[in-house]
């Protein structure tokens, strides 16, 4: 009934949220990534968190576009649980106009977009893209990593959710011995579409399986 009404009013039909990995699910009151929203990923584990967030959706058949991250480690994406046959990497020109046209075209075909926007992107263009995301009911994940060398992006998106992922512990590595075996990340979800902040400590890459209970 509601669906029919909405359709008649021209409002976008509300579709089920995109699924997230079981270990991340407690962070999202809606049970997943609500379509049409913009999620800003920050912190030193921003990119890993973005991959972890989109993994379950790709396994459920959604396509993932990673835009402007030419050096994405595919092995990391696979470890995160991303269905690699549904991942596409796009390197649009960094000029604001071309960048926005490219991403707008990708929105038409992709449920999840992980983007590292160029520094030149204006707030106006960012909002236009968000409108498109809302209309097409995709999820935009903006990766922002100013803490890391060589990376960083402008703060021009009005994000609905802020996912802050900071590594709290690196296990295994010593002064000259072993190697990194595990990464413990503190993930904090806040934002204007988040009634109450949620916080979880997870190990990355996080397991796609339901935790044994």
């Amino acid at each position: 009934m509601t669906t029919e009404l909405r359709a008649r009013l021209g409002a976008p039909v509300v579709r089920a949220p995109l699924p997230v990995a079981p270990s991340l699910a407690p962070l999202f009151a809606d049970g997943g990534l609500v379509r049409g929203r913009t999620v800003a990923c920050t912190g030193d584990a921003a990119l890993s968190a973005a991959l972890a967030l989109s993994a379950a959706a790709t396994r459920a058949g959604s396509w993932l576009a990673v835009v402007g991250v030419p050096n994405l480690g595919i092995a990391a994406a696979i470890e995160a649980g991303v269905a690699v046959e549904r991942i596409v990497l796009a390197q649009p020109p960094r000029a604001s106009r071309e960048w926005i046209t490219t991403v707008a075209a990708l929105v038409e075909g992709f449920d999840v977009l992980i983007v590292a926007p160029p520094a030149s992107l204006s707030q106006h263009d960012a909002r236009r893209l968000q409108t498109r995301i809302l209309a097409r009911q995709s999820v935009l994940i903006v990766v922002d990593m100013p803490a890391l060398p060589l990376l960083g992006s402008p703060d021009v998106f009005a994000s609905d959710l802020d996912v802050h992922a900071d590594t709290v512990a690196w296990s295994g590595i010593e002064r000259g011995g072993s190697h990194i075996t595990q990464r413990t990340v503190n993930v904090r979800v806040t934002g204007r579409r988040c009634a109450a902040p949620h916080e979880e400590t997870v190990t990355l890459p996080c397991s796609m399986r339901q935790p044994a209970s």
Partner: protein, 505 residues
Amino acid sequence: MLDAPTRVVVVQFPHWASFASALGRAARTAFEPIVQSVVEHAPLVEVAAPGVIVFATRGPSRYVGGDDRLAALVQSTVSGATHAAFGIGIADGRLAAGIAARHAIQSGEPLVVPPEASARWLATSSVRALLECVEVIGAVKGAAGAGVPGADDIASYRDVVSLLERLGLYRFGDVAALSEADLIARFGAFGRDLSRLSRGLDRHPPLVVAPPPDRVCTLQFDTPVESRDAVVMASDDLAVGLVDHLATNGLAMVRLHVLIDSDHGERSERMWYRSEGFTARAVVESVRWQMDAWITHDAPTSGVVSLRLSPEQMVVDAGRQAALWGGVRDGDRHAQRAVRRVADMNGAESVTVPAWRGDRDPARSFEFVRSDAIDLERRATGDVVDLATGEWRGALPSPAPSLVFDASSNAPEINVVDVAGGAVAVDARHAMSGDPSVVCIGERRYDVVAWAGPWPVEERWWDPRRARRAVRLQLLVRGAESNARSIAMVAVLERRVWRLAALYA
């Protein structure tokens, strides 16, 4: 009566046609509104090239009450849609209508040649009109493949016209008087078309049975072509011709055999497959890909002399073919369409998909394949098994870094400094000159908290040219600020230069 030419309307924009080849896709886009305006009167219009619209009068004329009424209507709608100069001609057969349209451009009024008067009307027209109607009647067959004409075709028509004039045949009437056999003897395959055209007929007789199409397209270069781009560009016309030719027969090819021969007899041949059917663009991209591969791997010693495209498998073109098995979901289709659009905008190399290659270097364990080389739908339905993530001896241990830099191309140079203040060096036994203490990346300085390694990387030691000797160091560093977090990275030392190889972002 069976061989009667189709009565057609030709709308010609003289300036458009001459710029079309230079503008490419932009010309097509800009022409679209005009096409749309004509579609109001005739749903089945054919846009031979930007600048030329052709459609059969049969339905529309009867609907509006005669050819003159139709011509006047089209004239008024088109002049409402554009300020560009144009002419409308109606006649039996494309050539006659095309010439009529040419006359109409000058007079500004549509020119309607009465039914069954085309042959008489043509008889007095100069054979030079062939040059002006290339887009309408199609290319010289055999010169550059059949189909949509380009600049080359005008040149080949120029040869035809010049030969006709040297033979003393100035008007179509003179040509029509000759026997078809004589024309074929003098002009080859095009002679038959020439004979038919000058008698006011269509180039191709009406088809009685479904055509087993002349499917193989060959492009011969008079002089060997050295440049890859030139070959690729030349393949464009050929591809468009082939794809359009098949499309007019309601067919699309899904398997294409591309054969390229060099002047020294070297040969590159490959089979290409696209489940959704080849577009001309896809054909061109295949040729480009094949040329690249050929040049890099086999290094042909001379230029290309011929290019052959032969469709090996065809399907009835239903717009798009479904995957062979497994359902294609809407999502797969949408994604593929979006990828194609973006590839059109920014070039196919800007959109890539990962494919497992297997290499110890994290930046090279996957290669990024241009999206147009892979059928995304088949890949999504699990038909393509080219992904494996097996353990690769010497590869970085899990967890994998989320950003990887290729040492040979984009890995930034960094400084890894030991306690003594000098750059960390690694000797032949993989012992470090001192414990790393500081890492500098650009202007930023990080203190080393922990490290693992050094791990030797020795690749292809048996091949002195491609051998690679390097060491990797996994580092955990922290910025100088009090609230700074630890950052994990991999640094690689090769030829005494440290580079950033990976970041755990």
